[in-house]
Symmetry: C2
Subunit: 112 residues, 2 copies
DNA sequence: CATTATTTTCTCTAGCATGTAGAAATCATG
DNA sequence: CATGATTTCTACATGCTAGAGAAAATAATG
């Protein structure tokens, strides 16, 4: 009966990044994390749009931190997973795991 | 650099269902499989719309089978994963696994 | 046998949610 | 003032959802 209950695929990745990065999760950092781990060419606009939507759904909260003393070190907006965020993540992981359970995804490179 | 390369979240589930069901994968059956495994209330329209999109992207092919001799046993349109479909699945699984690797998703039910 | 019911499956369409892209604005330091 | 890191805005493309309705088969009935 999922109405607004289920995560989009990019939302899923972003939420995982926020969880992983902990206190160090802010837009640019999230972008880099996903780019490095998945090899995708993630645009910053996509990340913020998604973070905003997650915040609107109550799956993350954001707080403005103090500027850091480096070149271009302006204040960062850092994000944190909420309880509802964990729940959403758990559901998403569970749903996928249920569907994958016991499956072997064929390697299209192997002899057919 | 994923342009049309990445799977939506429901596309991911549907593709997994098609792989799992093999020769027995057609609309209603796919719907039931996802509903039972994930507990979601999947509508049939969503399934067909998604299967059509996957077909348009070349990730599945469809063939019309013969009617079966049961009440309401009209011809089914059955779907099959293509090589590109396997690749897409592998990518999706890999991307998620990379993001999840070593992570423990907190249980929001536990004492906070 | 002809007609109507029922069952299973598939098709269509419209509206909302998510994802993508790039340019511009902020706020810090050199 | 120049430069660097970050965030904001905005418009459009793609994916998701819902529900009603059309087909194609067998079953039931008079």
């Amino acid at each position: 009966m999922p109405k607004g209950e289920s995560l989009g695929e990019f939302e899923h990745l972003v939420l995982l990044a926020v969880l992983r990065l902990g206190p160090d999760s802010y837009g640019m950092r999230v972008r880099r994390e996903i780019a490095e781990r998945t090899g995708r060419d993630v645009t910053i606009g996509a990340v913020y749009a998604t973070l905003d939507r997650l915040a609107a759904k109550g799956l993350v909260t954001s707080t403005l931190s103090d500027p850091t003393p480096e070149r271009g070190g302006r204040a960062k907006r850092s994000f944190r997973l909420t309880g509802a965020g964990s729940e959403a993540l758990n559901r998403a992981q569970h749903d996928l795991a249920s569907m994958v359970e016991g499956l072997v995804i064929p390697d299209p490179g192997a002899a057919r």
